[in-house]
């Protein structure tokens, strides 16, 4: 009984996600969905990445998914980047319908790239496509190196995995090689980038991947 209900919700979401993808392609917008647990550093990554992409001429916007507060959206707005805060009011993930409604608030002709920062939760968001072109999954070294196999869908569904807060490596038990090996066991060709957003390590590599993905997706849609 419950399984059938769940399937219906997912099917409804898939259909809205296909509509979103078609809309992104129609406007030549590349969309990236960022997933990861609470406090893994998604917003900090965006704070470091967006000025770089903007300086390189990409017109970016961000959809911020949260249960409550506009804290993350305020941090993005402070960069001068258009942002829409999506409040799920208890909901543990964004849906394609959330994204549909949020995109009505943005001027689509003036955008190249939309980042969606999903609700801080390593589980549920991975089940819901939002119509994105690419997924970035984020794991902070403070969360521990046993996580890939404990949260397999988060890593199996990622196009790129960001290992964040690498400045904390000297103080935590986190074997980067073990984590990379486990991620590759789930997904042999996954791109993995180690970052330290405060020191801006890894940002160039991430920005260059985003630029490349952005260009390929525009080539395909044109």
């Amino acid at each position: 009984m419950e399984i059938i209900i769940q399937r219906t919700v997912l099917e409804k979401n898939e259909s809205a996600a296909r509509e979103n993808l078609a809309m992104f392609d129609r406007y030549g917008i590349h969309c990236i969905n960022m997933l990861g647990g609470a406090g893994c550093g998604k917003t900090t990554v965006l704070e470091t990445l967006l000025p770089k992409l903007t300086a390189e001429g990409r017109r970016c916007a961000v959809l911020e998914g949260d249960i409550a507060t506009t804290r993350d959206a305020e941090r993005i707005a402070a960069l001068g980047v258009p942002v829409v805060q999506l409040l799920t009011e208890g909901g543990c993930h964004l849906t394609a319908a959330h994204v549909q409604r949020a995109m009505e608030h943005l001027s689509l002709d003036d955008l190249d790239l939309v980042f969606i920062e999903n609700v801080g939760n390593p589980i549920c968001p991975a089940n819901f496509s939002l119509g994105e072109h690419r997924r970035i999954s984020v794991l902070s070294v403070a969360e521990g190196d046993d996580k890939p196999l404990k949260y397999p869908l988060l890593f199996r569904s990622a196009d790129l995995v960001l290992i964040t807060k690498c400045d904390l490596l000297p103080y935590v038990r986190f074997n980067v090689e073990r984590v990379c090996e486990e991620i590759r066991r789930l997904q042999p060709n996954c791109r993995i980038v180690a970052m330290d957003a405060r020191e801006k390590n890894g940002v160039l590599e991430l920005a260059s991947w985003v630029q490349q993905e952005c260009s390929s997706s525009l080539l395909v849609s044109n």
Copy 2:
């Protein structure tokens, strides 16, 4: 439509949770549900706390909630404490029915205290009562000090909040006072304990709270 479905699931869970609570009380078992995000340190807290409680004569058991792997259960089993691993296979929280089935594997007459380590997720588990007497919510300092108001139910529903990984305080932006003030805004009388499980700071305070709660619950049920 979706709201009605959700309500039915919650109602079904509430009824199973009431049965669990009655069972715990019948056997004089105190039950504590531990909630928090992935990698916030729930298992490490149990690894530090359980030997202390066992040494003080409490007969403990643990139910480990995870999506995949038996990693956490193996860590508890290594302490010689009876443990049941509950695999949700994608499910983002434990339900009272999970707990009901798990308790069949334990010898209830030989237990004083059952800890349930919920799935690593700061959102969904807070909506589902498991029939526990008390809730401990866990936040690691690496997750950031903006979290209480961003994940209000996790903190509003807690009897005690553990602030973990305090050994990382010199290396992260985390204002303990701000966090305590936000938690108390959500719940004025919440007990808050700062911990560093590796150095065993805060463990005595936590153990003494658990012992006290355990004794009061036995007094009520006898």
